[in-house]
């Protein structure tokens, strides 16, 4: 008699898990959200009803109340980040901080469209399989020993995050990494090599993600807010020149830390070679479509570097997108699932709020009552802002940190006579460096979710890398940035 067969079909409850902690703990956790909503509302009302502080206009007070409300919601994630930005966009015209026309015009900021273009281009790479092909090619070419495979994975993630959203890269390379770990029979939570593979994936994407304007939305958002406040901006090349020393230091430091914390405990990766070889075989030759998309990407990159300032970064990105559709390389429905539309709303709202704070003088006032009291010179200002960014981003969305700190940083720049341009990388670069906690960034969350790591595997080495990153950032800002025309204080 045979064993009864399993049922066909997929259970609608396939994705549930039961929280078996004591109910009082769950209740406290569940009360968190309404508590934070109430806190936000209380903070808002308290700010609105309080006597107007010296040095702050009534409009500034209203803008500050909205900012504090958004601050509570962004930090606590009481409502989705996107919804918080939309709330700001609703409140700004309702409270007459900005007119409706001004508010919604800010949503049309170039940064928002640049991010949209970058999303679509990254989606194109993923949809046509070119990104996977590139990843496999790197691993196949270089990864024949355990150490070289690990290094290839680390650098491959970093390299790809130069051109695509780091989150997208992590999502794309995770299945490859997982398959390598499985085929090598690395025991989850025990194998050093298994831990090293996933840490390399997570750290590689983050370090690569700060290298260009394409690694995530942080840099375009910061530049968008800078442009609204001061009219200044960064070209594609300028931004990469600003970031590269930090990227280089972190790649070396990250690699050394991985090797030190997770000494390689396997002798051969032949099984992984076979898997990679099989995958390459399955992909076959590069199609005409892939070649064409690759050419468009290279051309786009070249134009961003050579003529991005004159043509506009967003124009170049959207031009490339149009070219892809003119050539029928993709359908619109192909890229829709890959584009995070909510993030665009989030950035639009954050830029509008930042602009309102600047125009009303509220950011200047905030700077006066916060960092100005602790810092005595521009070097200390940069040290404090970067420390805030690097700490906050461990628990908050990278973009929320930028939205939070950038208006304040711009206000501080005015007070200390600093070049406002410096505040864009001073806020955006540290806010992309979350190495210690799974919630810090999707890359970390994906690595942790692999089951190959425990929290302390990420926590301790991550904290060391965060410290290195903060030092490297400040040394770069103080000694290197002036050499490329970005002095802390304009001459």
């Amino acid at each position: 008699m045979s064993e009864p067969s399993p049922p066909s079909g997929r259970s609608p409850y396939a994705n549930v898990t039961i929280d078996t902690r004591p109910l009082w703990r769950i209740l406290i956790e569940r009360a968190y959200r309404p508590g934070m909503l109430a806190l936000g509302a209380t903070v808002y009302l308290a700010m609105r009803l309080a006597p107007t502080p010296d040095g702050l206009s009534i409009v500034g007070q209203k803008a500050l109340a909205i900012f504090l409300l958004c601050l509570v919601f962004w930090v606590t994630s009481a409502i989705p980040l996107v919804a918080t930005s939309l709330l700001a966009m609703v409140l700004l015209p309702v409270t007459h901080v900005l007119s409706p026309k001004e508010t919604y015009a800010l949503f049309g900021n170039e940064a928002v469209f640049f991010i949209l273009g970058a999303f679509i281009l990254a989606a194109t790479l993923m949809k046509c399989g070119l990104s996977t092909r590139l990843a496999l090619a790197i691993l196949r070419r270089f990864g024949h020993t355990p150490k070289r495979l690990l290094l290839s994975l680390f650098l491959m993630n970093a390299l790809m995050s130069f051109f695509m959203s780091e989150h997208g890269v992590a999502a794309m390379t995770f299945p490859i990494t997982l398959e390598i770990a499985r085929v090598l029979r690395l025991p989850p939570r025990q194998s050093n090599y298994g831990k090293a593979l996933f840490i390399a994936m997570a750290w590689g994407t983050q370090i690569g993600g700060i290298a260009t304007l394409l690694g995530g939305g942080r840099a375009p958002l910061a530049i968008g807010m800078l442009r609204e406040a001061s009219g200044q901006t960064f070209s594609f090349l300028e931004w990469s020149l600003t970031a590269w020393p930090i990227v280089a230091v972190l790649l070396v430091a990250g690699w050394r830390i991985i090797l030190r914390w997770f000494p390689i405990d396997i002798d051969s990766v032949r099984a992984a070679d076979q898997i990679i070889e099989d995958k390459v075989l399955r992909m076959g030759r590069m199609s005409v479509r892939e070649r064409t998309i690759g050419l468009i990407m290279l051309a786009t990159l070249a134009v961003w570097i050579a003529g991005g300032e004159e043509l506009g970064l967003a124009n170049v990105a959207l031009g490339a997108v149009v070219a892809i559709f003119v050539l029928k390389l993709l359908r619109w429905s192909d890229i829709e699932p890959y584009v995070n539309w909510g993030v665009l709303f989030m950035y639009g709202g954050a830029i509008a709020l930042g602009s309102a704070l600047n125009r009303s003088g509220a950011s200047h006032w905030i700077a006066g009552v916060t960092i100005s009291r602790w810092a005595t010179n521009p070097i200390e200002v940069i040290a404090i802002i970067s420390a805030f960014g690097i700490v906050l981003t461990e628990a908050m969305s990278h973009s929320a940190v930028v939205a939070l700190l950038m208006p304040v940083a711009l206000g501080i720049a005015t007070q200390y006579g600093m070049d406002p341009r410096i505040m864009a990388p001073a806020v955006a670069l540290p806010s992309g460096l979350a190495f210690t906690l799974p919630v810090g960034t999707p890359g970390n969350a994906i690595a942790y979710a692999s089951g190959y790591m425990q929290l302390r595997d990420m926590l301790v080495p991550g904290a060391v890398l965060v410290f290195v990153a903060w030092i490297a950032f400040n040394v770069t800002a103080i000694y290197y940035w002036p050499l490329i025309g970005l002095p802390l204080v304009p001459r």
Binding site: P4, P6, I18, I26, L27, V439, A445, I446
Partner: protein, 398 residues
Amino acid sequence: MNPVELKIALATRGVRLDDHLRALLSSVPDFTPGALELLLPEDVRVRVPFDDATSTTAPYAVVGEDGRTFVIDADVLRVEVEAGVMPRFYGRRTASGRPMWQVATVEGSYLLVSPTGTCGFSTRGAPCAFCREGARPVGERDRAASIADVVDVVRAAFEEGVADSVLFNANVYDAEDGGIAFLTPYVEGIRKHFDTFVAAQVHPPRTNTWIDRTYAMGVDAISYNLELFDPGVLDRHCIGRARYIGRERYLEALAYAASVFPAGTVWSDLVLGLEPADATIAGIEALAGMGVVPVLSVYHLGPDMIPQVTPDEAAEVVGRLERAVRERKLVVAWIRDLTLGITPLDACRLTGSTPPGSATVQALTRWRLGAYAARGIARFRRRLRVKAISDSLDSSHL
């Protein structure tokens, strides 16, 4: 005689019925019940088997006199009882034409819904083909009642006021999920149309994720019936359970379910009389130790069968049941009114003790407002405990 002792005696030995009661039980066309439900003193319910064999050999008889009903024996026993009235909906058909009694029957205060057939000693009073031989009924899914049929029957029973909760039991068994996947659309159907407690008796699934899903889909109480604790006896009497599932998996699944479901809503039956009393007592201790409510199901002995336990030993087992739940402070008031089972509440009645927490639960469920509140609490608990995995990912801003 203590009513619980009487319950055991009646359930194991059966009764003879007088013609008047037989006529009452034959009032539904094509429906021949094999048992009569009696309400004994102290609200003890029992389902007493009667068939051709018991009609001549059973030592007890149920007789009607002047509109009252008595259980008597050949000696001095004469206890007034209430005979369960045949629900009117047994005589009705669902919209698809299926007789309602084929879909569900009233057992105590709950409606036993079995879209196919039932499995387990506690509902049949005897082993089914799966338990006995490891065989599955052929084409059981094809003959299964539809969801609309089940909803029809539950509505009819609730409107008639003969039951207030639903217990699913099916003889469909799948190795992976233990049969709960088959019951899922039925549970969803009940959840969609009625505000009621839902319990299920199935086999343990292969993985604990199915237990999570069982709770998530709206099952309030769950039973994986081990039936026999002694491995050798289990191998002999419950071939299907031993071969396809295994004793250890029963215990693992029960322990896990006890951590998922509310306290006192996971139970497992141990058949009284098929294995030595020591084995049953060890089973009681093991189940109670993991937070599972043990229930002793009463096995209907045939005329030529010799019980493995003497009446004294049976009393000792029931006493140990009471002591085990009291020592472990198990909530025992949710599992009650099992007509073929000796619940811990029954055991407390036998020993005269008061079970912990029972007053609160009974107060909650006996009155309409209390029952409404209890269901609300159950729903709230489920909302707190059940998490979609995507929620976890959302919280990490993926």
